[in-house]
C-alpha cells in the first residue's frame, strides 16, 4: 500500500482534508478509490470533500438530488474535470495516468456519438482507442446485447435518443472493462429498455465487473446495488451497504382504545408516531423474533383492540428522503 501514499505525498497541490481516510487501511486495489475530491465552478462549490471506494466486482449506486455533484464526481474520476483537490485511483493506478482508464467503460449522461459513423464503426473506434483487440464477432455480440444487432451498419445520425443510449452502453462494455461507470444509463430508455439495463447490470455483477451507477431510479439502484453513496450539496451525506442503510424496520399498527399505559408499552418497543388510530413503531435493525408477538400480547393484555399488525421494511426512497431532509452534516458516516 505504499503506492497511493507515495503519490499523495508527491502531489503538492493536494488538500488533505479532515475527511481523509487512513490510506494504509485500504484494500490493495479497489476499482475506484477517491479521497477529498473538491471542485469549485466560479462561486459555486460543486464537490466538497467527497471520498468513497468501489470494491472490485462491487456494484455501487450514486444517489442524490439534482445538483448534488454526482456527474461532476464521475467526471473527476475519469479525468474529464480537473479537481481543485483530491486524489483518484482507478483499478489501483493514479488517475493522473491516462492508462488508469484502460479497464474502464463509461456511458456519459450527455451521450453523443459521431453521427457520421455507423454503430459498428463507433465500437471499432472505441476498441482502437482503448488499445485492446476485440474480434468483430465479439463487437457484434456487444451490439446484440443492447438490442442493436440489426442496426450495426446504420449511421448513428439516424438513431433515436434511446438507441443512442443503447449504443453508449455497448461502447461502455465493448473493451472488456473491469469497471463500468454509468451516468443515468436509463434516462432515455422505455420501460423495456430499463429492464434490459437491469439485466445487464446483474450480468456484470455476476461476471465480477465493478459498476458505479448514477441513477434517479431508486428502485433500480435498490435492486442491483451492493452499496450506495448518497451525495447532497457536494458532500457524502451517507454511504453504506443496503443492509446498513435500510436495516431499520418498522411496525404499522391499527389500534383502538390506546391509553397511556399502552402508549408506554409501545414506546418501550421503539419510537412511535401516531395518526389517530394508526401507529408506526420503529424497530431495531435486527429485531428479536419475539418482539412483535410479545408487543401484541401485552397490548391485548392492556385492553387495546388490535385491528391490524403489519411489519415493514423502510424503502431506499424513504431513507434517501430522510437523509436529505435531515441535512448532510447530521447523517454522515
Amino acid at each position: 500500500m505504499t503506492g497511493p501514499t507515495a503519490r499523495l505525498g508527491a502531489s503538492a497541490s493536494l488538500d488533505v482534508g479532515a475527511e481523509e481516510q487512513p490510506i494504509a487501511d485500504l484494500p490493495p486495489s479497489s476499482a475506484v478509490w477517491c479521497s477529498g475530491l473538491r471542485k469549485r465552478y466560479r462561486r459555486q462549490t460543486a464537490v466538497d470533500g467527497v471520498s468513497f471506494t468501489v470494491g472490485r466486482g462491487e456494484v455501487v449506486g450514486l444517489l442524490g438530488p439534482n445538483g448534488a455533484g454526482k456527474t461532476t464526481v464521475i467526471k473527476i474520476l475519469l479525468g474529464l474535470v480537473r479537481p481543485d483537490a483530491g486524489e483518484v485511483l482507478l483499478l489501483g493506478r493514479s488517475a493522473r495516468d491516462p492508462q488508469a482508464r484502460a479497464g474502464v467503460g463509461y456511458l456519459p449522461e450527455l451521450f453523443r456519438y459521431q453521427p457520421w459513423l455507423s454503430a459498428a464503426e463507433v465500437l471499432a473506434l472505441h476498441v482502437r482507442l482503448a488499445g485492446v483487440t476485440v474480434p468483430a464477432a465479439e463487437r457484434r455480440a456487444c451490439l446484440a446485447l443492447v438490442g442493436l444487432a440489426d442496426r450495426a451498419g446504420d449511421r448513428v445520425g439516424g438513431f433515436s435518443k434511446g438507441m443512442q443510449q443503447r449504443l453508449g452502453l455497448a461502447v461502455a462494455l465493448v473493451a472488456r472493462p473491469d469497471l463500468v461507470i454509468l451516468d443515468e444509463p436509463t434516462s432515455a430508455l422505455d420501460p423495456l429498455g430499463r429492464a434490459d439495463v437491469r439485466d445487464l447490470l446483474l450480468s456484470l455483477k455476476a461476471r465480477q465487473v465493478a459498476v458505479l451507477l448514477n441513477s434517479h431510479l431508486i428502485g433500480e439502484v435498490e435492486r442491483v446495488c451492493d452499496r450506495v453513496v448518497i451525495l447532497d450539496k457536494g458532500r457524502v451525506a451517507a454511504s453504506g451497504t443496503l443492509a446498513e442503510l435500510l436495516g431499520r424496520r418498522e411496525l404499522r399498527l391499527r389500534l383502538d382504545g390506546v391509553d397511556s399505559a399502552a402508549e408506554e408499552r409501545l414506546a418501550a418497543a421503539g419510537a412511535f408516531t401516531r395518526d389517530r388510530d394508526s401507529f408506526v413503531v420503529a424497530l431495531p435493525a435486527d429485531p428479536d423474533a419475539t418482539t412483535v408477538p410479545d408487543l401484541v400480547a401485552d397490548l391485548v393484555g392492556l385492553g387495546v383492540r388490535v385491528h391490524a399488525v403489519e411489519p415493514a421494511r423502510i424503502s431506499l426512497e424513504e431513507r434517501l428522503l430522510d437523509i436529505l431532509r435531515a441535512g448532510p452534516t447530521e447523517e454522515r458516516r
Binding site: K75, R101, L110, R112, L129, G131
Partner: protein, 282 residues
Amino acid sequence: MTARIVFTVAALTLQEAARRRVLRSLAVLTITLLALSAWGFSRLDAEFGGLTTGEAKVAASTVLNLVMFGLSLIAALGTAFLAGPTLAGEVESGTALAILARPIRRSAVLLGKWLGLVAFGSGFVALAGLAQFLIVRTTLGYWPPQPAIGLALLAAQTIVLLTLGLLLSTAISPMASGIVAVGLFGATWIAGVIGGVGQALANDSVARVGTISQMLLPTDGLWRGAMHAFQDQTLFTQVGPGFGASPFLSQAPLTTAYLGWAGLWVVLVLVLAGLAFQRRDL
C-alpha cells in the same frame, strides 16, 4: 501507443470531413471558381489578343494570383470552419466525453485532429492549385516558375490558419472560433496590403503595419511568398515602382528566417492549444 492514437484520430478527422458534406461543398465552390477562371482566362486571351508577351505575362501573373487568392480563401474558410467544430463542437455536443474517457492523452487527440486537418487542407490546396495551373497553361500558355514551392507555401498558410482555429476552439464556441480565425486572416491580409502601399510610398511607419501583422499571424507573409512563386520572375523589372502596392503581385521571395518563424509560430500555437485543451473541464 500515442502515435497509434494520433493516427487513429487523424484518420477519423479525414473521415468526418469526407462524410459530413464539407468535402462536397468545398468541391462545388472550387469547381465554380475554376470554371469561372477558365472562362476569364479564355476571354483575356480573346479580348486582348494584341498583348505583347511582357504584357501577357503581367496579366497572367496578376490574374493567376487573384484566382489563387480565391482558392486560398476557400481553403482557409473550409479548414477554419472544420477546425472549430471538430474540437469545440465535440466538447459542446458531448461526443468528446466518451472519447476522452478512454486511456488516451488529450494532446494525442489534439495532434491527431491537427494532422487530419493538415492532410485535408494540403490535399485540397495541391489538387485545386494544380487544376488552376493547368487551366492557365491551356488558356494562356503560362506556367508558374515555382509551382511546387508556391503550393507548399499556400498549404503552409492554410496550416497556420487551421492551427489558429484549433487554438481558438479550445477556448470559445465552434462558430465563434471559425469567424474569429477568418476575421484575423482577412485583417492580416488588409494590413499586408497597407504595408505594401507604405513600401511603395517609402513610408516606414505604414510599411511597418504590414511587417508586424505578418509576424503576428504569418498567413499573409506566406501568401506573399506563394504569389512570388507563381508570378513571372522578370515582372519586377518590367513594372517598376508601384509594384509593391499591388495586392496581387509580390516583390521578394520569403526569407529562410521568416519560414523558420512561421514554423515556430505553428508549433507554439499548437502547444498553447494543447495546454488550453488539457486544462479544460468537459
